[in-house]
């Protein structure tokens, strides 16, 4: 098995750290501290719900911003700055480079999300309630967020292989928003009497990843059980989509002229 993607991944992570990307953790910490203090004063009995909801939503939003804005530059920035020229002259295949870049950003997101999860746990601890068994659901929700971020990163990387950062951002955001409403779009198509529109909404439904399934924030905050089957289904779903996107990205990038 090829080990060439590993140093690329480590270097991508190192770049993120040195570019102070993880400074967003400071903002997250401030948000959690502020929320914990405020919630303790104004809410009675729902402090847990508010903190978990706010914390998980912030983890998701901060992660999405990182996945999209760093993801779209993963390849295009290297081409633009010409750092890729000397790297690809080394004995490394283009797909190995892509997989390394992808893994590096996912590693960054995992580290970032882990620290934010710790921050959320600290905020929950601060509002003065003991941890209960249902709090493990928070970890499941965080895992779903990570799956979602991995998928968004793969989409951003795919566009980054042939498009400008600006267009890649628009495409990735467009797919993400469409993916959140994928089920609604399909239902809308089913309700219309136009066969053409119905077919179109079906195509969109099957083509675009369904991000709605990765949202377990409400379940985690209300302590509702998350079926194990959903965990397995989401893992498989994200894994397959990521694999397909990486193969497509490699196919495009392998024939790209680096002018």
């Amino acid at each position: 098995m090829s080990t060439a993607p590993i140093p690329v991944a480590v270097n991508t992570f190192r770049e993120a750290v040195r570019d102070r990307v993880l400074y967003n953790l400071v903002f997250f910490a401030l948000l959690m501290i502020g929320a914990a203090i405020l919630v303790g004063q104004i809410s009675i009995g729902i402090d847990r719900l508010v903190i978990i909801n706010l914390g998980l939503s912030a983890i998701s939003v901060f992660g999405l911003v990182m996945a999209i804005f760093i993801g779209v530059g993963l390849v295009s920035k290297e081409i633009e700055k010409r750092t890729l020229y000397s790297l690809l002259a080394q004995p490394i295949r283009r797909w190995e480079f892509l997989v390394g870049k992808y893994a590096g950003l996912v590693l960054t997101l995992v580290v970032n999300t882990s620290f934010m999860t710790l921050g959320l746990a600290a905020a929950l601890f601060y509002v003065g309630r003991p941890f209960v068994r249902t709090d493990a659901l928070i970890l499941v929700a965080v895992y779903f967020i990570l799956l979602q971020l991995s998928l968004v990163t793969a989409i951003a990387l795919f566009f980054s292989c042939f498009s400008t950062p600006m267009l890649s951002t628009l495409f990735t955001l467009g797919i993400y928003v469409t993916g959140i409403f994928a089920s609604d779009i399909r239902e809308f198509g089913d309700l219309t009497k136009s066969p053409g529109l119905k077919a179109l909404t079906r195509v969109i439904y099957y083509l675009v990843p369904n991000f709605h399934n990765f949202n377990a924030i409400a379940a985690a905050s209300h302590g509702e059980a998350i079926p194990l089957a959903l965990v397995a289904q989401n893992t498989l779903y994200a894994g397959l989509y990521v694999a397909l996107l990486l193969v497509a990205a490699s196919a495009v990038f392998s024939r790209r002229n680096l002018k």
């Binding site: 040195r18 004995p91 002229n257």
Partner: protein
Amino acid sequence: MSTPAIEILGLTKDYPVGFWLTRTRRSLDHLSLQVEEGEVFGFLGPNGAGKTTTLKLLTGLIFPTAGTARVRGRSIDDVAMHREIGYLPEQPYFYDYLTARELLDYYGHFGTFGKTARRERVTQLLERVGLASAADVQLRKYSKGMLQRAGIAQAILHDPKVVFLDEPMSGLDPVGRREVRDIILDLKKQGKTVFFSTHILSDAEMLCDRVAVLAGGKLQGVGAPGEIMSVEVHAMDILFELPPGATLPASLAGRVTPIGGRCRMEVPEADLYAALDQLRRCEARILSVSPVRPTLEDYFLRMVGKQQTASSGVEVAVR
């Protein structure tokens, strides 16, 4: 018969141009040449001649429209070929958040070194290119010359048999150019093949076993710098002083260029003795007589001039 270090066979590169990308611009036109093992080969041409295109094709950064090339018998499509080569891009730019040591260590992972061997090799190379004292400084703080040296270090990191250098002396001060020249000569001593593009002709004259001249994407000529220079009919250069009040005959006066209190005159070799006789009659003091050898630069300019006259450097075709 040994395998050539580099074998280029009809390499052609077209780029799509225009809003709809329906037309093509030919950057390289059926380039064929061969570079032998251990040669220092200069690739000369003005900006836009196709030098960088050729190097990018050979290093697999772009793909040929037609033709092929082999490096030490391996096709340029083969990733194993990259184990045989090192490449310094034109105006190299590296990850500026890394130090030179980190950059080389990063690239070192793609070779066959173990961890200890890699670290030793990196330290050794940093010393060799004169960056030992700045090894742990981030590349964003490097001068252009230092970046170029870091670039050369990464190009020879894996001890490649063939080294491609794209304008390695470009933008360097005289000291930097001399250092790069020394590195190229050192590589030659080790039996490496060095293929470098340049438009600084004195460097090519000084370093190269053979040179190729490229203009408008077409190969204009290949040969040893000495062979190219001996092709021309020689002229002679006469430097002399005239006594006060002396005048030159009309047949010579038109050829003379005054330089300070002296005069310089270039005459065809066949007319040398007649010209010297006339100067002697004017009581001129002959200071020197030297042959005018066409330089590589003359050859280069003539070739480029021919190319421009033919105006066939850029082909535009409708798909």
